[in-house]
Symmetry: C2
């Protein structure tokens, strides 16, 4: 495996790799639907104006234009840069979802809960864990006017359950709250809270000394203010003890209290319902995004350098229609980032490379019809079956099944006696097409975690 | 329903409409996998050079460029028109699949059978049945060097089975063979067979008189030649009697014989295995495409004006790597065209608009945790369940379920006694969270065909 994509940043999987990805997608869908999230898809394109509404992200956007667009620029637009009506590929699923909610508000029942699994595109330099085309799996709940905070708790629990069901290493949701951070900054006299967040967001990349420097030179913070902000960002607890630790810093502010209370609710529920999966991490900032409360990033334990595999939070003002506001909370799983890592490090494997469980061999060229009848009987019981195309020697037909990764070959002799051979063990036994079924582990493709020796589990 | 897309040609579905689409996609996937087709996806973009390899289609292609592409034109390319390395969105799944096969030939087992369900884009003028972004579902079998003709038969049967499993009106696969047509044209002395095919392809649009005119003026055909070509195109039979009818036209040609024999095999198998679903239709040409043998179009009975909902055929030279050829045969279902028609004419409906079967109501605000425990028990048995976010009056919580389309509401009183109410019938009964299950028709969303009165079944 680990072939190189023929176009940098646009990964494509082999069939056996795609089975791993399908397993991930099916698992996520199942968990989301069990929790009552409805599927939607939005178109791949938005207008440039819609995408750039929040500014500062146009560097990453792919604009569209019809190759032979001689006379018609209104809908596609060659000069994508300038024309807000020009079309471009979406770079996430949150902005399109917000537009969808506003457009269809009259047809939706609020709070509206949806999942959305689609490709998105970003024209960034490709690197490990960062592709130009990749799949995201999002869940969001959006309210009409208001949205109870309880959904912030629920969303975190649903995602913890979904990630737990995947064939991936252990993970941690690292959760913070913008109100907590912003209230604290105001409480210590730093009013450019967006500026502070932007600096704190660089903590993991450049370290505390340089962040302190930034806070002082760019935002005019005093040394005490910078140190206080860094102390807050240093708090990370697996339970609600972060509340006492923040209080011990001696800052008082109403917004801070609100944030503390919200984050406490999330962590309290997580300790009970997703033990070991969630930490309060007061360094999480989520950069310049549109979040207004809860913010979440997620790391794979032992793969921290891969970056966040699931991020999101609460946004109170992303979507609005006149005076009507649609606050929401949501999380987005980076499916391609996860699947790339699973495949490149052989963390999970499909039990075979094709859906087919049985190849019906041909005794002679005229037996194709009879073989199709047998195959139809097997398929009617959910057994994926194909029929050989040519009546080659049995050895050759077995070899064909072996090459394709098909575990069973079905033979019918001239007297109409049926036998089925497990070509892995070589065992062959009489079988009735009306009743035979393979062992349950062979019925469908299974994707299972590969057990890595403890010593090898650490990344290089 | 039948809202207008906010961007012409880019349809988006409401959640209950998406359930119909999901049902169609799930059904196709299931049938394809039961027949041993493996899933793959290719990237959404190809190089312009790759897409235009067969020429004459660039009018429809969307080129890509990074909106802030200041210095870097090598990978995206502003001047898409000229640069074959520029990127563009794929307009079908066959051309990308051919590229994928060539690139990954060393990793695939041939004959390689895959299904591929993805969006494609064409910058055409949108109209009924023709979108700019739409989903195709393709199956193909590709061989290394050679591919037995039997796969042409098999592909037609698999598609007939797949379409039969969908909640759509009756359909007909209309099948022809390029060898048959080309051999016949040569046999009557018309050597520009591509030109004749192109004219015959217009038969349904402009009628036989104008096609005869075209053949004479553009290709220099005599009146006899034009009439013979039209006679051939007029043959349409539900069984293999087309062979005798072609022979009765008195033309002899080796390629014609080969084509007659091939088409006979397909129709013979279809009469037996997909009775009533397939016709030999000697007017089918498939325009300028890359087909070399079997060609297929499919109409919905009573919806013929919608155009073909499933097309394809045999291509012997689409993919090659040096001297190595990869002949293939495949068919492509126009999923969006089908789903649009199902939705706009209410041909099928989802039994409810959300996946959720049960809403667990809250007795008081502190009961959220206990309600989550009940929900988890139900989910562990595959029952999609959500929990109310607020302890409003029961009447309000029932109203919420009703508005969301959730059939059951779960109540727990202060003594811990559980009851479940079917809010459609009003029936309420004791229930145990460890054992209760809804009736099987309520467990998952069902998508079923809507029975239309016979008189209304005819389109306007």
């Amino acid at each position: 495996m680990a072939r190189t994509a023929s176009l940098s940043g646009f990964p494509e999987w082999l069939p056996e790799e795609r089975l791993v990805e399908l397993h991930v997608l099916d698992t996520l869908r199942k968990v989301f639907e069990l929790h009552g999230f409805a599927s939607i898809e939005t178109r791949a394109v938005e207008t440039v104006g819609q995408l750039l509404r929040k500014g500062e992200i146009d560097k990453e956007v792919y604009g569209l234009s019809r190759l032979q667009d001689d006379d018609d620029t209104s809908d596609a637009g060659k000069a994508g840069k300038a024309d807000p009506n020009a079309l471009a590929l979406h770079f996430d699923l949150t902005v399109p979802f917000a537009r969808y909610v506003v457009e269809n508000a009259g047809y939706l029942a609020f709070p509206f809960r949806r999942y959305q699994i689609q490709k998105v595109w970003r024209g960034e330099r490709p690197q490990e864990g960062r592709a130009r085309e990749f799949t995201q799996a999002d869940i969001d709940v959006v309210g009409d006017g208001e949205l109870p905070f309880r959904y912030d708790v629920e969303i975190a629990l649903v995602i913890a359950e979904a990630l737990s069901a995947l064939p991936i290493p252990d993970f941690r949701l690292r959760i913070n709250n913008r109100k907590l951070a912003e209230g604290f900054y105001r409480g210590i006299g730093l009013d450019d809270t967006a500026g502070v967040l932007r600096s704190i967001d660089k903590l993991e990349k450049i370290g505390p000394a340089k962040v302190a420097e930034l806070l002082k030179t760019e935002l005019g913070a005093t040394d005490d203010q910078a140190q206080a902000a860094l102390k807050l960002a240093g708090i990370r607890t697996e339970d609600t003890s972060f509340v006492a630790r923040v209080r011990a810093l001696g800052v008082t502010n109403d917004l801070l209290e609100e944030g503390l209370n919200e984050l406490e609710q999330v962590i309290e529920a997580a300790v009970q319902r997703a033990p070991g999966k969630v930490v309060a991490d007061l360094s999480i900032a989520r950069g310049l995004d549109y979040y207004t409360g809860t913010v979440v990033e997620t790391v794979l334990v032992g793969h921290e350098q891969l970056g966040s595999i699931c991020s999101g939070g609460r946004y109170d003002a992303l979507a609005s229609k006149g005076n009507r506001k649609f606050p929401g909370v949501g999380l987005s799983i980076g499916v391609t980032r996860l699947v790339s890592r699973i495949l490149s490090q052989d963390l999970a494997k499909a039990s075979r490379s094709v859906p087919t469980a049985v190849l019906v061999a041909l005794t002679n060229d005229d037996s194709w019809g009879a073989a199709q009848d047998i195959a139809a009987q097997l398929r009617s019981r959910g057994i994926a079956t194909e029929v050989a195309a040519k009546a080659e020697k049995f050895g050759k037909q077995i070899k064909f099944a072996d090459r394709r990764g098909i575990p069973f070959v079905w033979f019918t002799d001239d007297d109409g006696k049926h036998q089925v051979k497990d070509i892995r063990s070589g065992e062959q036994a009489d079988a009735d097409p009306a009743t035979w079924t393979p062992p349950s582990e062979d019925l469908n493709v299974q994707v299972t975690t590969v057990q890595v020796p403890a010593a090898a589990a650490q990344p290089a």
